[in-house]
Amino acid sequence: MTLFDDFIVLAALAGIGVAIAAAPLGCFVVWRRMAYFGDATAHASILGVALALTFDTSILAGVLVTALLMAGTISALSDRGYAMDTLLGVMAHSALALGLVAVSFLRDVRVDLMAYLFGDILAVSLTDIAVVWIGAALVLVILWWRWSSLLTATLNPELARASGIAPHREQLVLTLALAIVVAVAIKVVGVLLITAMLLIPAATARTFSNTPERMAVMAALVGTLSVLGGLLMSFRLDTPTGPTIVAMGTGLFLGASLITFLRRSTS
């Protein structure tokens, strides 16, 4: 295998891992209207990068902890009925700004900020891939295990209560899964575009799905297609890879929207 084949294959493996984990979680983000929640958690992770570099711990651990803290804080606040839209906006952007400021204080460490903001998928190592796939497997296992309860709680909290499901616990499960996805996806698409990997494939898959399970599987397919197509395009056109992957997803989403539109106007 030539060097070129090698790094493209590694990048594809990392990207597909993220796409597969992000797909079912992204469906929940769409169904529960948590898009901004995902944004806030992802943006907070740049603060995690700064902290990890400051205290010289692993980036993964730093990101995981800050993402969990952020997601947990938002969950707790939303239960108390704060004006979530504004609050999430404030927290998402404050966390990003604070993170960027904090990174700039690290004089001794040379940090390639762009790699964290937009991802650096072409530089993934075998270790990175292992981390992505372990994280992805963990998220899939968690969602598989809680699937029915999560779905019921998403549909209607009181209906879930009457069936003996605690909606609050399911929210925590999603929070945990989200933190894991953010932590492993940072290398692939960067903090600014993680939410896109959650939302766009799920939104695209809605057109082709009549059940929640089908939507999750279709979202994984769309995500995988975006990763492969995006990699290829970025290589051909010499464009930044993370954004090209997301742009590819956007293309698929537009195609699906067109199909929905045509179906509606013909029926």
Partner: protein
């Protein structure tokens, strides 16, 4: 057999009590209806009984292993969530196809399994909700204004179905209703609620109670008052402390 009992229960929404000092119980096979004006704490009471709202004080006792079938006031399904009737019936517990078909047959909606939930009419939707609630063979069926949005024949058919369910399953039924004539005909016991229990007892007994008449008026006039309350209320009225819905959420029966 006592299924559920609530003793001296008080529930506060951000400090203000929505329900105060409520004693309530329901026994096996009983049909109990809760009446009360908007914001009187009807939904609050139901939600506390299914465990969705914690009590600020007082105690809630449930019979061990009590199975509750719950039909919510309305169920909003996000348009991004694809859900067929068949899939909905399998939430949270997967059921075999034959069971799902029998359940749909039972509520008079055969061959609707592959239909998306979003495409159902109001009456069909309520019957699917009922079918799902009955799947677990409940000891207690709780209906929160389940006929809201149904026309007269539709709601009459729905309540007939409830009677039949009670006869078949021997379950207790607890419902919130605005429909006075139905309440009088179908309930064993009526509880009149307005932040506290105003009065309770057999329907005829309650109808002549001064507390009830103060809330709903007397005789046929009472029925009219109730309907006036349902149809002509302002959308910008002040909500009582126990009312947990927004100003735009009042469903109206569509003609």
């Amino acid at each position: 057999m006592r299924l559920l009992s609530l003793r001296q229960a008080t529930i506060r929404h951000s400090g203000t009590p929505a329900l105060e000092g409520v004693d309530f119980h329901i026994d096996k096979g009983e049909i109990v209806t809760i009446l009360g004006p908007n914001g009187s704490g009807k939904s609050t009471l139901l939600r506390s009984l299914i465990g969705a709202l914690p009590l600020s004080s007082g105690t809630l006792d449930r019979a061990p292993g009590l199975r509750i079938g719950y039909v919510p006031q309305k169920l909003h399904i996000d348009p991004t969530l694809p859900l067929t009737v068949r899939r909905f019936l399998s939430l949270p517990k997967r059921i075999p196809n034959a069971v799902a078909e029998a359940a749909l047959d039972d509520v008079g909606l055969p061959d609707l399994g592959d239909h998306p939930m979003a495409g159902l009419s109001g009456g069909q939707f309520q019957r699917v909700l009922l079918a799902r609630a009955l799947l677990i063979r409940p000891d207690l069926l709780i209906l929160d204004e389940a006929t809201q949005g149904l026309d007269q024949p539709g709601s009459a058919a729905f309540y007939q179905k409830i009677e039949q369910v009670r006869a078949d399953l021997g379950c207790a039924v607890l419902m919130v209703s605005h429909e006075l004539h139905v309440v009088m005909a179908a309930s064993d016991r009526v509880i009149c609620l307005n932040g506290h229990v105003c009065c309770e007892g057999a329907p005829a007994q309650v109808a002549s109670a001064p507390e009830y008449q103060a809330l709903f008026g007397t005789g046929t006039h009472g029925t009219l008052a109730l309907y006036r309350h349902e149809h002509d209320h302002s959308h910008d009225h002040d909500h009582g402390p126990g009312c947990d819905h927004g100003p735009a959420e009042h469903g109206h029966p569509q003609p």
